[in-house]
Assembly symmetry: C2
Homo-oligomer: 191 residues x 2
DNA sequence: TGGATTGGCTAGCGATGCTAGGAACGATAG
DNA sequence: CTATCGTTCCTAGCATCGCTAGCCAATCCA
């Protein structure tokens, strides 16, 4: 491969990143409704069709943002668990708290990950690594005897429900900490 | 008011119902993406603008379907709880099972209630009665000492998370019963 | 029977996601 | 240095979306 085409590929990768970050910023500042292909193209200072030379469609762009979100979430959860590395109540509380904080701090990102139609596939062999990493953080909060995966699924479900019901004002946000404490108290391995 | 205008008002109310049920049927058979104002108008054999003489917009139509869903869900949860009228584990298991069954049996309806943009407002004074009724069914599964509302919120959150993660294939559906058992075992008042 | 009112329709607006087709650019061979 | 060839990217447009303006006809009251 020539140096020229290497440079071009590098530039292409840069533009790929530019599109993803522009979509994310636009969604975070004005909501996903504002992320139209036209506005996104204007933002990256290219015409509309170049988006389609990088992504199969809008769903793929949302998927790329969502994948970025899963990476950051995995990092946050991992950081929280390193504060309490042993399975048990403290670990679970730290990880669950980090999860809810993330969802509340990055609502647009969270929507891309769970609400919006995107092209990510779950619970299959080709599940992207960052998503598995998120799940594994929950798994490691429970002792390997017992059934850590089952507990992790229930934990994740409950947190997701709390996050989305809180985001859409179906439950009061002020009491989120109490709900978190209750959930952890009931699900965590002792101690 | 004359008999003539009474008849017209009756016919209007009929057409109102017709629109809501047509929207629901279309969503259940082909998904909400297929529910466009044009297809809906064609289905009820009127032109597009008549929809807007009944509803403020598409969100209001979705909201009407969602409200219908909350009514049916409240009935299902109430029926389940009447099988085990005392607060406790049996009541909670029955109600939670009915909730998950409902979400799995009526995915389009469930989407209208929780996923899609609609014009229903929650956690406020004007929360529609069927929605309060759903919540109250969870509350009554817990003893009035303790904190039944808090437990109800966590329960509902967990169920919602399980329903949506299962619907979008983020967790395996086959293990839903195990998750349900675990959730109930951990949250229910003894016995 | 004539004039006002109401109700529904046709037609169209702006915006959406996405695509075809050609223009202009840059790399390479003579 | 020039001519050719690919590639890249833009202009323009399609079908469809939610929604609305404005007219036409049927209906109601005098």
């Amino acid at each position: 491969m020539s140096a020229v085409s290497e440079r071009r590929e590098r530039e292409r990768a840069q533009r790929h990143r530019l599109i993803v970050t522009a979509a994310r910023e636009l969604a975070e500042s004005e909501g996903w409704d504002a992320v139209t292909t036209r506005r996104l193209a204007e933002r990256v200072e290219y015409s509309q069709p170049v988006l389609y030379s990088h992504f199969a469609g809008k769903e793929a762009i949302v998927g790329a943002v969502a994948l970025e979100g899963f990476g950051e979430l995995a990092a946050r959860l991992g950081g929280a668990r390193r504060e309490a590395p042993e399975p048990g109540r403290a670990a679970l509380h730290a990880v669950c708290g980090a999860y809810l904080d993330f969802a509340e701090a990055h609502p647009a990102l969270y929507q891309a990950m769970f609400h919006l139609p995107n092209d990510l596939r779950f619970a299959s062999d080709e599940t992207p690594a960052p998503m598995r990493a998120c799940f594994d953080e929950f798994v490691h909060c429970f002792r390997p005897d017992g059934r850590p995966e089952l507990f992790a699924e229930v934990t994740w479900s409950a947190l997701h429900g709390m996050a989305v019901l809180s985001d859409t004002a179906r439950v009061r946000r002020e009491e989120q900490a109490e709900r978190l404490d209750l959930l952890v108290a009931r699900l965590a391995d002792a101690p």
